[in-house]
């Protein structure tokens, strides 16, 4: 039994890596139709594997759970890789933003299915207004030169608070018009149909991501002025604050539906393979397009040498903030997708100790390697949760605890053998940097009129 299971699991992991390679290859193909067909085929293969044909199902419910977990972990870890791997800012706050995204989206859809439209409208309008406020204040502050960071921060806080208050006001005004159309759980209304709830889910995920991004903007603005290690400690503090707020969400925060430490139940399970795949691919595309652009190069130059980056005309503070905000956006989206797959949120899931997982994945897959992060996210979930948990449970009821011994040992071994991470800086297909060889056709003619310095 044991050996077959191990072999089967290894085949599964191998097939997964092959699958990821194929997906990235198709996405990076130069022909447009190959891209579209490739992505649809990649989606379809897994969709078929998840479908039940009579008694046969290639990936059972357990595998499906792992798959969704891997997708959300990919988004969170890619966000952290942008912050830590590409921008060089050691952050432990990713898990906090993940939690914010999860609770935010869960609250929206939970309220919607229970006949309360305020969740969507307050959060939606709030994020839009706050975004506009931040944008406007940013423009305004740019004109006044030399504003200290804390003064700028005060401006932003005031702007965001006003935007939030406005959103709550308008949300409460709209609510009586809409809520009757929603119906209740037992009697869903017009706006609570199967299609409508999918649309609401999409907006919930996007708004949750933007909400996390805006929180990270306000948090990052003053904190990113700290040096790298101090920044890490500050972000750890952030995760703990978020976790404490979750535990007390029904007492010190006005959200009784989140039920504090008892955990939020009754979140509609809306995450299908389509949504998980869609958001994961979206995150991959956004990150790749960002990294392979001038902004991405500026972000990487900050990691390489801040002083030299400044001397090259790069706004270091701005680029740090940008990568932090986008990384947190990914975490928020990942959290939202996770919440609607698991259907139950407990503050224990967002404890800061668990929050080291994305960090481990990023280092495991290779700092500054997007492919490595994606592969490590999938591999990690299937290794730790899939292989070890099932394998060890056959040896006794208490045996699964051993996976937290075996897994760190694996990590140690890997760090000793391959300190640059599983894949180093290798990128696959779509994620590869463009090569610009000196072709005869398109390259400019090399001019040789400069003296050679070295002999």
């Amino acid at each position: 039994m044991g050996i077959e299971f191990i072999l089967g699991s290894l085949v599964k992991i191998g097939a997964l890596l092959g699958y990821l390679y194929g997906l990235l290859w198709a996405m990076g193909h130069s022909k447009k139709w190959v891209k579209i067909v490739g992505v649809i085929v990649a989606f379809g293969i897994v969709q078929l594997a998840l479908t039940k044909f009579g008694d046969f199902q290639l990936l059972n419910n357990f595998d499906q759970g792992l798959l969704f977990q891997a997708c959300t972990m990919t988004m969170v870890a890619l966000g952290l890789n942008l912050i830590y791997g590409f921008n060089g800012q050691f952050s432990l706050g990713q898990w906090g933003f993940y939690g914010i995204g999860a609770y935010c989206a869960a609250d929206i859809t939970f309220r919607w299915t229970n006949g309360d439209a305020r969740g969507l409208f307050v959060v939606g309008l709030g994020t839009i207004f706050a975004g506009l406020a931040i944008w406007g204040i940013g423009k305004f502050l740019k004109r006044l030169r030399g504003i200290p960071v804390l003064s700028a921060f005060t401006f932003y806080i005031i702007g965001v608070v006003v935007a939030g208050a406005l959103a709550i006001l308008i949300g409460n005004l709209i609510n009586p018009l809409l809520s009757p159309l929603l119906g209740t759980i037992s009697e869903p209304g017009v706006l609570n149909s199967k299609v409508a709830i999918q649309v609401v889910f999409f907006f919930a995920v996007v708004f949750a991501g933007v909400f996390a991004a805006e929180v990270s903007f306000l948090f990052g603005l003053p904190v990113l002025t700290l040096g790298s290690d101090y920044f890490g400690i500050a972000t750890l503090g952030f995760t703990i604050v978020v976790n404490t707020l979750m535990v007390n969400s029904d007492t010190i925060l006005p959200f009784p539906e989140m039920k504090g430490g008892r955990g939020m139940i009754g979140i509609p399970k809306l995450t299908t393979w389509f949504w998980a795949f869609f958001f994961m691919v979206l995150v991959i595309i956004i990150l790749r397009n960002l990294i392979r652009s001038s902004t991405g190069r500026a972000i990487m130059s900050v990691r390489e040498d801040e002083t030299a980056a400044k001397a090259m005309g790069i706004d270091v503070a701005n680029n740090k903030l940008l990568s932090f905000v986008i990384g947190s956006f990914f975490a928020g989206v990942g959290g939202a997708v996770y919440a609607h797959y698991i259907g139950f949120l407990s503050p224990g899931t967002f404890d800061f100790l668990v929050g080291f997982n994305p960090l481990i994945i990023v280092v495991f897959g290779g700092l500054g390697s997007m492919t490595g992060t994606i592969a490590a996210s999938f591999g990690w979930i299937f290794f730790l949760e899939g292989l070890l948990r099932v394998l060890l449970s056959q040896m006794g009821t208490e045996a699964p605890t051993w996976r937290y011994v075996l897994y760190p040992i694996t990590l140690l071994m890997l760090m000793l053998i391959r300190p640059q991470g599983l894949l180093g800086t290798v990128e696959w297909g779509f994620l590869k940097a463009e090569k610009y060889g000196f072709g005869k056709k398109n390259g400019p003619k090399p001019t040789t009129d400069a003296p050679v310095v070295n002999s």
Partner: protein, 265 residues
Amino acid sequence: MEKNNNTSAILQIEKLTKYFGGLCAVKSFDLTLNKGDLAGLIGPNGAGKTTVFNLITGLYVPTEGQVRLNNENIVGLEPFEITQMGIARTFQNIRLFPNLTVLDNVRIAYHAHIGYSFADSIFRTARYNKEEKALVDRAREFLGIFQLEGIQDELAKNLPYGEQRRVEIARALACNPHVLLLDEPAAGMNPREIINLMDLIHFIHDRFDLTILLIEHQMRVVMGICQHISVMDFGEVIARGTPKEIQDNPRVVEAYLGKGAANVS
């Protein structure tokens, strides 16, 4: 030095002073560079030369004094703003972006002048494709000028020392500066490399229509290419003039070789 009435002051430094706590690193430093000058700044170790560079480029904020670029005061601006206004520099200990390719190192310097927005790059619009292609062509042409096109995909950290120096100068020039500050470009080079470096500095000076200020320890470089020289010691300018005048100045000899040395030579 021939004074041309058409040349106007491009960089004016007045009474630049910097204290680190109680230590005076630079005291009342004055310097005027006219368009097209190739000036040198020399002095013994710890004289404050690099501090002057850091003050000009905004890495340090001066305690007192003014730096004017094209008659605009640039004291108090962020370093990246000063670079965007047209002052580029190299570093004494080479500061390339070690884990990026040579092409990327040069392309980063263009970032401030990039022709597409953040949204363009996320959605890969036509403008992104056009500008990025133009950028690559420009960067490669640039590398071609410095004969670095063959190593454009190498990581900067894997290059030999001389090539790293050249990449750093190429990167500084890619910022499209009016004034170029070179901090000890000949450090660690052998005599033959130094002669080549002097040719290179002359070449970029003419080709890019630059004003160059140079810190250097190697007298042969400074005396060979600079039109006029300022000598610093203990944060103060002790002499100015043409290479010939500096060589004969007893105070300079004293600063370098100690009291009494002037009489011996």
